[in-house]
């Protein structure tokens, strides 16, 4: 079985934690900051961080368009928190000029669960993840207001959608990379394993 190469968009955010989680889920993990680095991965994680900052830097350094093209072309992609916002086709309350990569037909509300004082941990049942619930770490987290027909809701917390999958795109409001539990990353690595980039076989 081939080991998929999975990148972590390393413009800003908790890149290191994702690299560690991916490596323990049997992927070859590497940071991605440039278009040429993006071309060399089978899948990509967009980490937690500040979505406004990540969006600006992606546009400024020419990663936004190639990334959109790869996601449209079916590259597996997983976004946590800010990464979820980046994968939304629509943000409810964007900052002026804030762009997203898109890929999931959903409307996301930024910081929907509140400011840092309201940040919390809670157990979350995630469809497709076997066994006990996932430890959800929600930090100034977004939630999904609504999803389109193609998107599948994988988890909810107190009536709000917090995990979504559409085709090869996966998004969670919470941060599995901050826990020692790498089952969500393992699920994503399997998605990447099933979709090696063209020419890598």
């Amino acid at each position: 079985m081939t080991t998929p190469v999975v990148g972590v968009l390393a413009l800003q955010g908790d890149v290191r934690e994702h690299l560690i989680a991916l490596a323990s889920a049997d992927a070859l993990a590497r940071p991605v900051r440039r278009p040429e680095e993006l071309a060399e991965v089978d899948g990509l994680v967009i980490p937690g961080g500040e979505s406004t900052t990540i969006s600006k830097l992606a546009t400024l350094f020419g990663v936004m368009e190639p990334l959109r093209a790869r996601v449209r072309g079916g590259m597996p992609v997983y976004g946590t928190c800010a990464g979820m916002i980046m994968l939304a086709d629509k943000i409810l309350d964007p900052r002026s000029g804030q762009e997203t990569v898109g890929g999931i037909d959903m409307i996301v509300r930024r910081n929907a669960f509140g400011r840092q004082n309201e940040s919390f941990e809670a157990a979350v049942d995630v469809k497709g993840v076997e066994g006990a619930p996932v430890e959800g770490v929600f930090i100034r987290a977004p939630w999904v207001e609504s999803v389109g027909a193609q998107a599948e809701v994988l988890a909810e917390h107190e009536g709000h959608i917090v995990a979504v999958r559409q085709g090869n795109a996966l998004a969670t409001s919470f941060h599995p990379e901050l826990t020692g539990d790498h089952r969500v990353h393992a699920l994503f690595v399997e998605m990447a394993r099933g979709n090696p980039r063209a020419g890598s076989l």
């Binding site: 937690g48 961080g49 500040e50 830097l57 400024l60 809670a122 901050l178």
Partner: protein, 304 residues
Amino acid sequence: MSTTPSTSNPTPETGTARVKRGMAEQLKGGVIMDVVNAEQAKIAEDAGAVAVMALERVPADIRKDGGVARMSDPNMIEEIIEAVSIPVMAKSRIGHFVEAQVLQSLGVDYIDESEVLTPADEVNHSDKFAFTTPFVCGATNLGEALRRIAEGAAMIRSKGEAGTGNVVEAVRHLRQIKNEIAKLRGYDNNELYAAAKELRAPYELVKETAELGKLPVVLFSAGGVATPADAALMRQLGAEGVFVGSGIFKSGDPAKRAAAIVKATTFYDDPKIIADASRNLGEAMVGINCDTLPETERYANRGW
């Protein structure tokens, strides 16, 4: 940190170590900028700052004005919270836990228990476990960093020498912390007990740091960063991100300089990008030579 999933108890829990430290993890690779009003906060956000530090006077002005420097006016902090969507931090005096309580009630996202303000207690820092809001604290060496973490700090920054535009002290503090961690890595278990005693820090934290090869919380650099190259230097020396205080809004073209420092912080290892970011930034803030600063005016000496 619990690894047992709380199947039986799905009640959300706020203010946990993971939520506090995890918040700092989200700021990594980013720039946190000092701002004194909503207009500056928006400039910082537009430039790509990951957070802003709301305060009434930047350190350079605190130096110039003298007198007692205190927590900022709640109105001004609230205006900044309203103006931007990125996290907002604010400073309390060292040991002034009531200022910290006020900042928590205002809903700031992080409290900086800061030596830049005049210390309120010459013996004790605030008990940071008593708060839901996470704290960042300054440190000049590993022992100081671990003592702050033992009191509940969820993020550490070098102290540097704020308001000087001179990066020399930040370099000293970061190198000191890194060197002391490298030394710990070479110790065997027997030696760690003595190391803890020498560092005047809890053994458990010393052992954890030795095993991780890094602090158990995020480490940023602060105090004296004024240029894109300064920011990249701090990152190459191991800082996971940078605070920029007076360096931006005391310069000729704040918006441009802010954006340039953000770029150089992300591409800290790419001299071509740092060179491009450094072009035509206008005047940098006027610096102060730290060796001509009298001991009493060195903020890094505050706290212990």
